[in-house]
Amino acid sequence: MSEFYVLHVNGAAREVRDAAAGESLLFVLRERLGLMGSKGACEQGECGSCSVLLDDQLVCGCLVLAAGAVGQRIVTIEGVAPLGAPSDVQQAFVDAGAVQCGFCTPGLIMATHSLLERSPAPSEMEIREELSGNVCRCTGYGRIIDAVQRVAVARRGAQ
């Protein structure tokens, strides 16, 4: 039952010791590696609060076996930008009023970075569809859509 393996998280090799075989990536990130930025709100892949990147693919950390992520590049919210130096997406969420309680925010930041990597100028419908796997209970989504659009516009302007 006791496992030892190494995960590559945010550019660093992290040893996981004494884990039970069935622990999810979300559990290991939070409880064994102390990376509390990924949140758990449904643990069945419905809410997106635990979104992380696995070899650049957006996944729900609650649905991935931690031991199965060995050898893959894992990026969590803690790996997006240094503390106190938010990414453009993180800053736009704050400025646009897209953050209320903030519990869904890390997952949405991961999903938004992923979306804008793949689609730099998403339509509103595309934003809605792409982010529909991330549930927010506070905002009604309007300010989040605004935040995503602000980043898309700013990035185009910077080019």
Partner: protein, 768 residues
């Protein structure tokens, strides 16, 4: 013992610098925004401590049963288990509750709802906890549950609790009871059980004091001092031995006003002498907190042929579930808002809040008024149809104004711009999106990603909902708030026990302090019980009550500052005022920065803000029971596929009476978020129980609106500062949920030409 901090951000509000510029009226960004966006803000569930144990709760599988025997010995035989507690281990009061203390910490004789707590364990790993719970043997005598509220009223079901099956009965009798017609419309309206479905699941970390002489609980809650009172009583400790610190709160919406895991966590920590963390999962959360009251409302309106309301008759039946929680207050809110935002001087109302073996009901955003609004707005549309007016005109003809009265006899003294709200909403542009959506995109059709609807079958409807919502607590309750402001060297430090659940109180604190005191830097102290109560973060009350407390404390500090400056410069304090970040002499030339004026001194003031006293209702439901009111109007546009019973909400337009928008961006966020919950209740959200058994306690089966479900929202903020409100600002959190739901349902009725009387509206209601 200290709580472990991860990263460099404290996550809690201790030392949070609200250093961004911005005064009242500005759309200032949240001071906790960057930590939240970076994942470093600590929610209650993110807290850990050295050597902490996990706690977990054993819950009843039956809605109603007699407990014959509980044998916990099996749990003790599992390695890693450090504590197993049952009712016999509760040292103090065996029960708790917000209004009446009728809910056991652990059930010992009967279980009264599916999911009731019976025992708790502490162990080294969540899996160890799960195995320990599974090893506890409970022998039940299963009983037939009381699930029909009418049987609680008619007395045909034996009491399921020593306090009886009726939690509260309240009549309202006003005016001439003989008025009848000439136009009469009536209907029966039903609301299903809505869950608050906050994302941040219930969580707490309890830290025992050395020798068990007290406990410190870090918890996601709504009301620190009420938690402390109930916890201390159950622990058999004086209040001062229990310190409550706010853990980061991932939304609340009413569900955290009652005790859930607080007492269990403290008991386990005290028993083991180690920190104990409890974190519910989603299924446990659905069982472990109260919900919005399922409700059946019959209403009959008597009106003139011109559509003016003459008399209203109504009967409310609210299912309070197994324990009282706030049912008695929710009932009063419902029945006293029977008329909605319309003039009516004659009424006969009968209201019941009853006990059943369903999940306990309590606070949720809108608190009884959501239920009333669904009925009175359905009635207004029936009235419009009966007298041949359109829905807007009938509402304008009856619109309440300042000086009008509730059916309780209470005069509305607040700003009441109901007609203006309706007109401003009507003036907002209708959606440009054609019926069936832009560009023939199937994602825009009802059913969206299911891609099942046929564009040619889609019909559009428009509907209205207008609401009134009381602000603050009612019925003689003094829900005051306390704030302490300390200024030194140009920095203001603000201390309060006001719970930040995401609504943005921490943002306006800085705005208030900067505006009143002229300081540039504002530090928010730890939010805990080391100061007087702030009351609950509920009832749209914290901007008014705690905002008023912070403003009051700032004004006291400013008076002291002016006295200090006046003495130094041989002036009169009354000559001085704050101009930007300076203290200035209005009669002379003195101008100095607040930072310079406060250099080397400390001014420290505390202010308790009370609202004017309110009254209990008498037997006929008469009395000035509420504190203040806010108003709102909603217009919904929906597309419906009548064959498949699918609905797409296309747009919600709203004008809201906000008094004064202290932070317009935050107000917009409250409005959009509240509308999302109103839309959810209208078309998708219901926690189902069959014979007392919960059927959909997961996010797979309990649906909340996603990005694809939410319509465009267009907003007009109506700012008429209320002379009774501190800074002129009304609470804004609840009105968006009050009448958005009836607006959506009215739009569906308009689209398909069919009477719908129940929410959420199900496909079968549309197709049948």
């Amino acid at each position: 013992m200290t709580v472990t901090q991860t990263g460099t951000d404290t996550g809690t509000f201790a030392g949070t610098h609200s250093g961004l510029a911005g005064r009242l009226g500005d759309s200032v960004a949240r001071p906790d925004g960057v930590p939240k966006a970076q994942g470093s803000f600590q929610f209650a569930g993110d807290l850990t401590a050295d050597g902490f144990l996990w706690g977990a709760t054993l819950r009843s599988p039956h809605p109603y049963a007699r407990i014959v025997r509980i044998d916990v010995s099996g749990a003790w035989r599992i390695n890693g288990v450090e504590a197993v507690l049952t009712a016999a281990d509760v040292p103090g009061k065996a029960t708790y509750g917000l209004i009446s203390h009728d809910q056991p910490v652990f059930a010992s004789d009967y279980v009264r709802f599916q999911g009731e707590a019976m025992a708790a364990v502490a162990a080294d790993h969540p899996d160890t906890c799960r195995r320990a719970l599974a090893a506890i043997v409970v022998e039940y005598e299963v009983l037939a549950p009381l699930t029909d509220p009418e049987r609680a009223i008619d007395g045909s079901f034996p009491p399921i609790h020593p306090d009886g099956n009726v939690v509260r009965h309240q009549r309202i009798v006003r005016g001439d009871q003989s008025i009848h017609g000439p136009v009469v419309v009536e209907g029966t309206y039903e609301l299903g059980r809505q869950d608050q479905a906050f994302l941040g699941l219930e969580a707490a970390l309890a830290l025992p004091a050395p020798g068990g002489d007290g406990v410190e609980l870090h918890v996601a809650t709504q009301w620190l001092h009420e938690d402390r009172k109930q916890i201390a009583a159950c622990l058999g400790m004086p209040d001062e031995k229990v310190r409550i610190v706010l853990g980061g709160v991932g939304g609340a919406f009413g569900a955290r006003e009652d005790i859930s895991l607080q007492v269990h966590a403290c008991l386990l920590a005290l028993r083991t002498g180690r920190p104990v963390k409890i974190q519910y999962d989603r299924e446990e959360s659905f069982h472990g907190h109260v919900h919005r009251h399922p409700c059946t409302i019959w209403m009959r309106h008597h009106a003139g042929t011109d559509g003016t309301i003459r008399r209203i008759e109504a009967r409310f039946v609210m299912d309070g579930g197994a324990y009282a929680s706030t049912s008695s207050a929710v009932l009063i809110n419902a029945v006293t808002h029977t008329q909605g935002p319309y003039r009516c001087d004659h009424a006969t109302v009968d209201g019941w809040a009853v006990r059943t073996n369903n999940l306990p009901s309590g606070a949720m955003r809108g608190f009884g008024v959501v239920q009333a609004a669904f009925a009175h707005e359905g009635q207004m549309d029936k009235l419009a149809a009966a007298v041949g007016l359109d829905p807007v005109e009938v509402r304008l003809r009856n619109a309440m104004r300042t000086g009008d009265h509730l059916i309780t006899g209470q005069e509305i003294v607040n700003v009441a711009p109901v007609a203006r709200l309706i007109q401003e909403t009507a003036a907002l542009a209708l959606p440009t999106e054609p019926v069936g959506g832009h560009d023939h995109d199937p994602m825009r059709l009802p059913g969206g990603a299911g891609r099942t609807a046929d564009e040619r079958h889609i019909v559009r409807g428009i509907g209205w909902g207008v609401g009134i919502k009381n602000l603050m607590y009612s019925e003689a309750f003094d829900d005051y708030s306390t704030a302490r402001v300390r200024v030194a060297d140009g920095v203001a430090t603000v201390k309060f026990a006001t719970v930040e659940v995401g609504q943005g109180f921490v943002t306006i604190v800085g705005q208030i302090a900067r505006t009143v005191l002229g300081v540039e830097e504002v530090v928010i102290d730890s939010i805990d019980t080391e100061i007087g109560s702030a009351g609950s973060t509920s009832a749209s009350r914290q901007t008014w009550m705690s905002g008023g407390a912070v403003e009051g404390a700032c004004r006291l500090v400013r008076e002291r500052l002016f006295e200090h400056v006046a003495e130094l410069h041989d002036l009169e304090a009354v000559q001085l005022e704050i101009d930007g970040t300076d203290v200035v002499d209005t009669l002379g030339s003195l101008r100095m920065s607040v930072a310079a004026a406060t250099a080397g001194i400390v001014i420290d003031e505390t202010f308790e803000h009370h609202h004017p006293a309110t009254e209990e209702l008498d037997e006929l439901g008469q009395g000035n029971c509420h504190t203040a009111f806010a108003f709102v109007a909603h217009r919904a546009v929906v597309d419906v596929d009548p064959e498949l019973g699918l609905v797409k909400v296309v747009q919600i337009a709203t004008a809201q009476d906000v008094g004064r928008a202290l932070n317009p961006l935050s107000v917009v966020g409250q409005i959009e978020g509240g509308i999302a919950q109103g839309v959810g209740l209208a078309v998708m959200e219901e926690l189902l129980q069959v014979d007392g058994i919960v059927k959909n306690a997961t996010f797979t089966d309990y649906l909340v609106p996603t990005f694809l479900d939410m319509p465009d929202v267009v907003i007009s903020l109506v700012e008429e500062p209320d002379p009774h409100a501190p800074m002129g600002a009304k609470g804004v959190g609840e009105p968006p949920t009050v009448s958005s739901t009836p607006a959506v349902v009215a739009a569906i009725r308009d689209a398909i030409g069919k009477d719908l009387h129940r929410v959420p509206v199900r496909p079968s209601d549309i197709c049948s």
